[in-house]
């Protein structure tokens, strides 16, 4: 009786070991890593104040803006400075996107034909802005490498879009640090040529988390044309009122 009890315990231990073993010693799953990085960056909801700098060889301009996000698919961005752009707003809900310009006092739904155009003249496309979390479901992810850099592990993940996914890239390569900071996202074409890169150039303690505070987007062919977003202030997991992500709020800001 006693012996069979012991056997059972041993067996149980073995089973637990078997289940636990892959959890602990194998590297984290690629998809989970990206999910974590997204959640880390956005939280359940977030509010942030940031500056976007658009740089060209012969000119440069900066815009200050405020942004709210709720979950994966809902966000509102509003420009506060400079004065002539103040009040320009962008609302995204799911795959749809609306912009509002106070000068013409109209809300425009961005049609599909404009989704691949620049967002506010930057190097980000409308699609980049509205579909940033599509990377989770529309790609197959594979962890290709784990590096050690300045005391952190950096996971290199190769994401290949599904055959019928609405993504032009041949593959994307993401560099995610073990504290879920997305260090770099590379966009490769289908011939294996790197086309554009989104790179984190500054990491800061903001809103109680360590986050990428400055992100730069540039095309490989034109490295002296770039757009940089730097976050000054961010707050996570604060409840957003329902009216925030509505068209009427886009037009007449209550917040």
């Amino acid at each position: 009786m006693m012996k069979s009890y012991k056997l059972k315990v041993q067996l149980l231990f073995l089973i637990v070991c078997f289940i636990a073993f892959p959890l602990h010693s194998s590297p984290p799953q690629a998809r989970e890593l990206i999910q974590q990085a997204m959640d880390h960056w956005r939280g359940l909801s977030s509010y942030s104040e940031m500056t976007m700098t658009i740089h060209r060889p012969d000119w440069q301009r900066s815009m200050s803006m405020r942004s709210w996000t709720q979950g994966d698919k809902t966000s509102l961005v509003r420009v506060t400075l400079p004065k002539k752009d103040a009040g320009n707003g962008t609302l995204t809900k799911g795959n749809n996107m609306w912009t509002f310009a106070p000068k013409v006092n109209r809300i425009i739904k961005i049609p599909s034909s404009m989704m691949s155009q620049n967002w506010m003249g930057s190097d980000f496309s409308n699609k980049d802005i509205s579909k940033s979390t599509d990377i989770l479901d529309e790609y197959d992810h594979r962890l290709v490498e784990t590096r050690e850099e300045r005391g952190h592990s950096v996971y290199v993940i190769e994401s290949i879009p599904h055959e019928d996914a609405a993504i032009v890239w041949g593959k994307e390569i993401l560099f995610i640090r073990d504290d879920y900071i997305l260090l770099e996202q590379q966009f490769w074409d289908q011939d294996g040529v790197l086309v554009k890169t989104m790179k984190t150039s500054e990491i800061k303690q903001l809103g109680g988390r360590t986050v990428a505070s400055t992100i730069r987007m540039f095309r490989q062919e034109t490295p002296d044309e770039w757009t940089e977003i730097s976050v000054q202030n961010i707050q996570f997991d604060q409840s957003n009122p329902d009216f925030l992500f509505t068209l009427s709020n886009l037009r007449n800001p209550r917040r």
Binding site: S113, E163, A165, A166, Q190
Partner: protein, 413 residues
């Protein structure tokens, strides 16, 4: 009777000899008429060829000589103006022997993007088999293949578009459009075929995907944008068009090609008018030379004409003689001119390569190889105009000669 025939022969001989008295002047006039007639016929054939080409191209672009659309589709070719696929009654009408082939299509504006670029295009969801029957030239696929079925998940794009997008066969591109609820509908497609069209603008415009694939993408269920039907000869659509229109009913718009593309439709009528104007303009230039020649001839022969009148030739015979002389001149000119025109057109039947000005021709909807089209009607028109109006203009100097006073005429040096 005898005397009339005799005088007739005499007049003909006189006219013929007079014609060659100053043979250098006659030859110059002859060559002017020849070149004029040649220009009339040759240029008309070129124009006809160009217009025929535009028409064929235009109809091939549509394609489908009769098309059924939503009432608003032609004004607003959007996704919301779709119609249901042909019902049993229409299907039966489409079985008619007059109908060579028919197909259904989804036709929506869309955006195609590659890694490097994106462009506005027209997305065509087609039934590949039927589309080929309708006139899609399978040999225009220069790389890869055409679609194989309604469910084909591949995409066929134009060579020029591929070049613009910096993409090629076997690569993926994204096509974006809108579903009926105005939501963005997009998906990736692999380029399975690249076609070459006669015109670059078409290559950049149309992309082909399977009908069912597109319907699924756009959440259209089994709706389509158009039903395209083609008969045996595009010039004679009327015979079967009305039957189809009756069966299709009032809820949709059934139109023949010349109504869908009014520009094309008016082209034929415009061309007929143009040919006539062209021929008359050339003739006007010719007629001055002709009148001048005859007036000179008459002045030179003032004494002679006076003598003939004094000897008893009636004035209308003199008029007759000058007209015959002009007739000879015109006929010989026409004969050589016609021969020359036909002689230059026949070797060019295989087409004239005008790719140097292809861009301009393309704006007119014509392709870069010109096939002259020699039409019997145009040749007849040119000949009849030259002879009739030529004789009419010669009437003036002839009448002038006939009204000489013999005494005065004889007195001239």
């Amino acid at each position: 009777m005898m005397t009339f025939q005799l005088s007739n022969t005499v007049i003909f001989i006189l006219a013929w000899r007079n014609l060659w008295r100053n043979h250098r002047r006659t030859l110059i006039m002859l060559s002017a008429i020849t070149v004029g007639v040649w220009a009339m016929i040759f240029m008309t054939a070129l124009m006809r060829g160009m217009v025929d080409d535009m028409l064929l191209n235009g109809i091939r672009n549509l394609p489908g000589e009769v098309q059924i659309h939503h009432l608003q589709f032609l004004d607003d070719p959007g996704i919301n103006n779709s119609i249901t696929a042909p019902d049993a009654k229409l299907l039966k009408a489409l079985q008619s022997p007059e109908v060579k082939a028919w197909t259904t299509r989804v036709r929506v504006p869309a955006v195609i993007s590659s890694e490097r670029d994106s462009r506005g295009i027209t997305l065509l969801g087609v039934e590949p088999g039927r589309e080929v029957q309708l006139g899609f030239d399978i040999s225009s696929i220069i790389e890869g293949r055409f679609l194989t079925g309604n469910n084909d998940s591949g995409l066929v794009i134009g060579a020029k578009l591929a070049e613009r997008l910096e993409t090629r066969l076997g690569k993926r591109v994204v096509v974006m459009s809108q579903d009926p609820d105005n939501n963005i509908a997009d998906r990736g497609f692999r380029v399975v075929g690249i076609y070459k069209a006669k015109m670059d603008s078409l290559e950049e415009l149309n992309i082909y995907a399977g009908l069912t694939t597109v319907q699924k993408l756009l959440k259209l269920e089994d709706k389509v944008s158009e039903i395209a039907i083609t008969g045996k000869d595009y010039r004679h659509v009327e015979n079967w068009f009305s039957t189809i229109k009756l069966v299709a009913g009032q809820t949709v718009q059934t139109l023949p090609w010349y109504e869908i593309d009014k520009y094309l439709g008016s082209m034929l009528a415009m061309m007929d008018g143009f040919v006539l104007v062209w021929i008359i303009v050339i003739f006007l230039a010719l007629s001055f030379g002709l009148v001048n020649t005859l007036v000179m001839a008459v002045f030179e022969r003032t004494r002679e004409i006076g003598l003939m009148q004094a000897l008893g030739m009636r004035p209308n015979m003199i008029l007759y003689q000058i007209l015959v002389e002009s007739f000879f001149l015109l006929s010989i000119g026409l004969l050589i001119g016609n021969a020359l025109a036909i002689g230059t057109i026949l070797p060019l039947q295989d087409g004239i390569d005008i790719s140097v000005v292809a861009k301009g021709m393309e704006m007119m909807g014509s392709s870069s190889i010109l096939y002259p089209a020699l039409k019997l009607n145009d040749v007849l028109l040119a000949n009849i105009i030259v002879i009739t109006l030529g004789l009419l203009t010669s009437f003036l100097p002839a009448w002038h000669a006939a009204s000489f006073d013999p005494v005065e005429a004889l007195g001239k040096d």
